[in-house]
Every structure is written in C-alpha cells, then in structure tokens.
Symmetry: C4
C-alpha cells in the first residue's frame, strides 16, 4: 500500500470502523467518506463489505465527478450523494450515512426532530430537518446524485447553514451527517441518534412537551460554539 | 465424527451459534436448519440444548419425511415445519426460527409490518406478512407440519413469492425466515428484527406515518437485487 | 469453609451471580435462595452486598422460622418472604427476587400480564398474576412475612397452582419467581422479564391485541410440559 | 503527581470513570466532582476530555469561589453549579451530572417523576423534582451559578431536604445528583436513570397507574434509611 492517499484511506477506514464500534450499524448498513481538498478526491467505503472484513487498502478513492481514481472494489452505492455534497459544500471534510434505529424511525415518520433540550442545543440551534422523499421522476433518474440535490434544496428551503446544522434526515430513508473531518461526521451520527431517542421518549412521556426556549438554545450553543465559548480545552 | 454430513452439520452449527451472537435468542428459544438438496436431507439443532453447550456433532440429520438419518439427540420440536418448507420450496437452503423480541411483538399483534422505509425495501418490496393463528383442529392435529401449511397458505393468499419475501411472522408465535443458505436465513432474522423495531418506533412517533411510495420501493429493491444491481461486490 | 452446607451455599451463590450475568439486576437489587429440604434450611444472599464482592462463604443459612443457622452476615431484607414460601410450598427448591425493568413496570401498573403468545404459553397457561399491594396494617406489621401471605392469597384467589405458575408480580414492587432449583428460579426471572417486555410492546403496537386462544395455550404448554412432551432431551 | 490533593483527585477520577462504565454518558456528556471540606476545595473533571483519555492528574482543583487552585486544564463548563451547591449544602461530598437518556427525557418533558414503586421508595420518599427552566435574564447572566440557585429554589418551593432527596432534574437539561461521596453521587445517577425508565414504562402500560401509597413509601424508605434500618451490613 504505497498510495499517495494512504493517510486519507486510513482516516476513512478508522471512521467507518467507528460506526460499528458505536453501535450505529448492523451488517453493512452504513458508510463514511473523507475528503482531500488539495487533490480534489475523496475516500469511501467499498459497497457491501462487512466491517469485520474491511481493511484500509479496500477504501476507494474517487474524484467529485464519481470517477474511481484508485481502488479495486466498487464504491458504496451512496457514493454520488457524497460527491455531490463535497462539490457543493466546500467546508466539509467528512460525511457519514447510517441506518441507526431512532434516526431512521424519525425519517420514516417524515418529521423534523424538535429541539427539546440542551443536549440538542449543545450541537445545533434548529430542529433537525427531515427532507421530504423525492419526486418520482428524480427517483427514477440519477437517484443518488438527486439525493444530494434533495438535501441541498431542504437546507435552502429552511434557510439552514450546513456549517451549523451538520445533519439531516432523508424522509423514509435515514440520516446523513457531516463535519470538518470524517471522525466528526461519525460523532454527529452518534449525537443525532441519541437526540432522536431522547426526543422520541420525551413525546411519549409528554405529547405536549414544549420546544426549548430561545434563550436556552442560544446560551448552550454559544457556550460551546460561540466567540466566547468556554467548553473544552481550546 | 466421520459423517458424510460433516460439512452440513458444521454449516448448521455455525448458523445456530450466530443466532446467539446476534442477540436474537435467549436460552434455547430458536433453531436453524440447513439443507443438502443432493442427498435430500437437512440438518437441524437438537431440541432444548443451550447454545453454550452445542457442538457440531450434536446436530441431527433428517430426511424430508422427518425420519432421523443420523444423530443421537431428539431434533428441534419445530422440525416438521422445517421439513415441510424444504419439501415445498425447492430453492431454499436454510431456515431460521427465533423468538426475537420485536418480531414476536408484531406477531402477537397479528399485524403485517408495513413497509415504511428503505431499510425494509432494501430486502423486500412487500409488507412483512403475519400469518393468522391456525384453526383449532389443525392445532390439535399435526401441529408443526400444519404450521408449514399455514405459512404456504399465507403466501398463496397474499400472492407472495418465497424467493423474494424470505420471512414471515406466525401470528401469536414468532418469525420464520429462510434464504439460499442457513447463514442467509439468520441474516434475514436479524434484518427482520431491526425492521420490526424501526416500524414500531415509527408508529409511536407518527401513528399516521405513510407507507413508502412505490417508486422508492422499486428503486431500493432493484439497486440491490435487480438485473442491474450495483450494491455489493458481485 | 468446611460447612455441611457448602454445596447449598455454592448453588445459592451461583444462582445469585446469574442474576447479574443475565442483566436482571443493578447494584444489589435482587436476591436468590436455595433450599435443603432434608435439613429444613435454606441459603440466601446477604443483604446489600454487591455481586462483584459476593463469595460463596458469605451466603447465610437459615431455618424456616428465620433463625440464622450459619453465617456471619445479615441475610437479605426479603428473607422472611422466602422462608414463608418454602414453608408453605413444599415442592419448590429455589426462589429469586429482582427489580428487573419490564417486570417492575408491570408491577407498578398493577396489571396481570396477559398471555399474548407462545413464548408465554411455553412456560405457563395463565396470565402472570399481579398481587395487589398489601393493606396498611399488614405493611406496618411483619412486612416481609406478610408479603409471603399476600402471594399465597393471590394464588388462592385466582385458583393458580404454584407448581405450574412459577412467578408473580407484587404490585408496586416487582417479581418473585421460583422453581425446583435456584437456577430454575433465576431462569423464570429471565423468562418473565422477556415476556413482560414482549407484552408491553404488543400493547403499544396493537392496544386491542387478542389473548392467545385456548387451543394454542394448551398445545404449547403440553408439548413442553405435558405427559407426552417432546421438547428437550428428556 | 505529588499534590496534596492526590487522593481527592483520585476519588474524583474514579467516580468520573464510573459514569462511563455504567453507560450513563456518551462522549464527554457528564462530569463528577468531589469535595474536601477541610481545605474548602473541590476536584472536578476538566471540560471536554473524553473518558478514554482522562487521567487522575488532569482533574482540576478549585475553591468554592471558582478559583483554580491546582490544575493545567479548564474545568468542566458546569463548575459554577457544583461550587454553588457545595457552598450551600454543607453535608454533600460529591456531585454528578449526566445526560443519561431517560433522565433527560423526563427533564425535557418538564415533569416530576412520580413515585410508582418500591425501587423509588428505597431511595427517596418524594417524587423526583423537575426544576423549571430559568428566567431569560438569569440564563443571559451567570448561567451556571444561577443553575445552582434554580436547584435550591426548587427544593425550597417543594419543601424538600437535599439530604433525603439526592437528585433533581433541570427542566430541558438533565439530572444533577449528589451524596456523601462522589461514588454515591454516581450511584444516585444510575438509580435515577433506572427509576426514570421504570416510570416511563409504567405510564405506557397504564396511563392511570396510581402513585405508591404512603404506608409503602414509608416502609421501604425506613427499612433502608430509618433508625431501625435492617438493609445492608451496617
């Protein structure tokens, strides 16, 4: 493995293995990619390979037009969605897709996840958006690329910033998350799953549970991500 | 162990151990069989043996008329159901039965599991059928063989193909799944359990959640199983 | 440890450790006892000792009048309930008590667990009884012994046999289970917890789910416990 | 590490690691502190450090006015809440804060957890209080210290004793628990999470489930904590 993309493949491999370690996937129900902005390529999991068998050298390298640059295996069936997001959102470094249980349940419900508490507000200030299922002609067409379009349209319609809201539910399908690195994209998948579970339980206990009020949303988001943030060591 | 069925027993043993590893059973609440079409026999777990104690040589070999061909132990109490399915469905290679929690909850609800999302459509295009409980005279009769008849009747009534729909819920009882191999039958048990859990949660979040639309059902099933499938490495 | 009760203590110790291994308890929220009918004594877990610290020699031996026969430690706070059951139910060999989550939730609901499926019928033919909370004067009196009386009254009122129905929910408290051995009592605690979870989920999916019909109750119970039982190896 | 606070740091470190071992946190969603009453200082987890990386020497020592006495790292963002509680509640030795799932779901529901059973009454005789979200001007001000004020106001309003009720839910946020030691504070977080889960399930099974009656509340609390307590070995 003397590839110039060796470290990119390693980053991608490790992030994929985290999906499994964090109980976000069964079998092959997920994929993570990592981008190299300098070389305008990204690394992604090969399609249908069990995590137990996955090796760093199996990772496939593609450009943003979905041409395979390096790799013997067929890339993830969701590759074109990843490529579309990398091409259009310049500041993301990694993308994760799972079929994690609670995230999927909300996606199948076709509902945004309301912001009910500070666990949510520590990460984003908006409800977690659920993009509606695509129109039939888009499904029949270039489906995976159109999935990317669907996500961008959803963010445009709702006036959301992909740098602040690093996650989306695809109606009837499941979550996509992203971030500055592949590891951060996986982190966001785990946080989304936990927030989805908390919101589900909240509505079971109190169907009239109120949304978190604006002052608390702002306070929690700012103390972690604002100019004067005081969470963490940096 | 110089049996001519040594490899068949091994396949059956490993698939049974997977039930336990995948958290689909507690104690002895499940069984898997594997068929040898050439010799017209199948291998099945002995009845009531804990997974921790199970050994490949404990596996029992029977013909399709339920005669024991090889083995010292009594075969699974569900053996006649397996035999009936092997005899009638020529293209299946393995069968699994569990009492996995969410699958059983749907079976006890006597409801088909609606197709709510792509996780489901990646595996089958129909709602997961729930066969009604048997008539009293069939229960009092050759119960386990009649269970096989009940499954076939359910598929005939609903116009389902056992090659596409590789799973069924037995009303008030639990799931049976099958596939080209015993390992694939176990895989289908795990997928069914996860889909059952997602559908349950979906209805809790949104009791009016819509079924997945036809265009998405077709797209997801075809990209994995269609003529031009592009999922996986084959 | 040259006690004449060495093997009884060992049986009791191992059964207690199983509670922990089977995820039926956190901290010290449970206890198991085992009886020696010849010597008219029983062994029980000492009160408040974490499972990680428990040793076979810590187990306390008492007679059926709650006198400590051997042991340095204070016995479980529920000891008198165990003693009362041993004294009155001659054919039980072990008793287990836990605060397992789903069993407790049903006990707190003060509802019997309806028989919804064959997992339940494989073990007993009745709904799992929930004994009502005691009258105030009984609570203020010899509480733990009166708990035993409450259980026996519940069985008398419902016309149940303790040899067939090896489990009860104490309203607002939690489950007690028993069986021919301490290990079997623990097995029944695990089965009860799983059946409680399945019944809970069933009612969430279908609030009008029907009880299992009599023919199926009988068939499943008989094939495992009847005169012509064909489940297991004996 | 030749600090005079070496054993205090060790106590704090071990209690923090327990949060992770008990599945009460993901990532860095929690913190535990331990107090040294003689030296009027407390030890707390540094902010945003993953549990896998945490070392005893990373623990930060502060006085009750939030001045760092020892430590290179920035203390938990919730430090001022801990300091306020230590200053005002003289008999507590440790405090824990988590975002455990069921506890958070109740906090997001803005409802007290009703006392439904003896698992709850074994630990406290009151409903578990949920403090309302703060007023906007308090959120905008010294937020974390005001969180402490909010907790004390809640206890005053409800007439609760912090020595008996060793836990609170902060509306829309999550649980704080405390106790004579940091380890006991963590224990209370685990008990709260389990009681929160049981109460949630109870209401799903029976929305009209009655509160535990006073005689049983008193009996269970007294047998564990009363003058004549007979639970445990002391």
């Amino acid at each position: 493995m003397s590839s110039k993309y060796k470290s990119l493949k390693q980053e991608c491999y490790e992030a994929n293995m985290q999906l499994d370690a964090l109980d976000l996937v069964i079998y092959t129900f997920g994929n993570v990619s990592a981008v190299d902005r300098t070389n305008k390529v990204f690394a992604i999991k090969p399609s249908g390979v069990p995590y137990a068998d996955l090796k760093p050298e199996d990772i496939v390298i593609l450009d943003f037009e979905n041409n395979v640059i390096e790799g013997e295996m067929r890339p993830s069936s969701d590759t074109k969605t990843h490529a579309y997001l990398y091409k259009n959102w310049e500041n993301i470094g990694g993308i994760a897709h799972t079929h994690a249980t609670y995230s999927v349940a909300w996606a199948q419900s076709q509902l945004d996840i309301p912001i009910f508490g500070t666990t949510h507000a520590d990460h984003l200030t908006a409800d977690i958006p659920c993009a509606p299922p695509m129109k039939d002609e888009l499904i029949a067409g270039n489906y995976e690329q159109n999935t990317g379009i669907q996500i961008l349209d959803c963010f445009k319609d709702k006036g959301l910033s992909y740098e602040e809201v690093q996650m989306v539910l695809l109606g009837n399908h499941g979550p996509f998350t992203w971030g500055p690195t592949a590891a951060k994209a996986v982190y966001n998948s785990k946080v989304l799953e936990e927030v989805a579970r908390m919101a589900y339980l909240t509505l079971q206990i109190n169907p009239n549970a109120p949304r978190l009020k604006d002052s608390l949303i702002k306070k929690h988001y700012e103390r972690k991500h604002g100019k004067n943030a005081y969470y963490g060591q940096n």
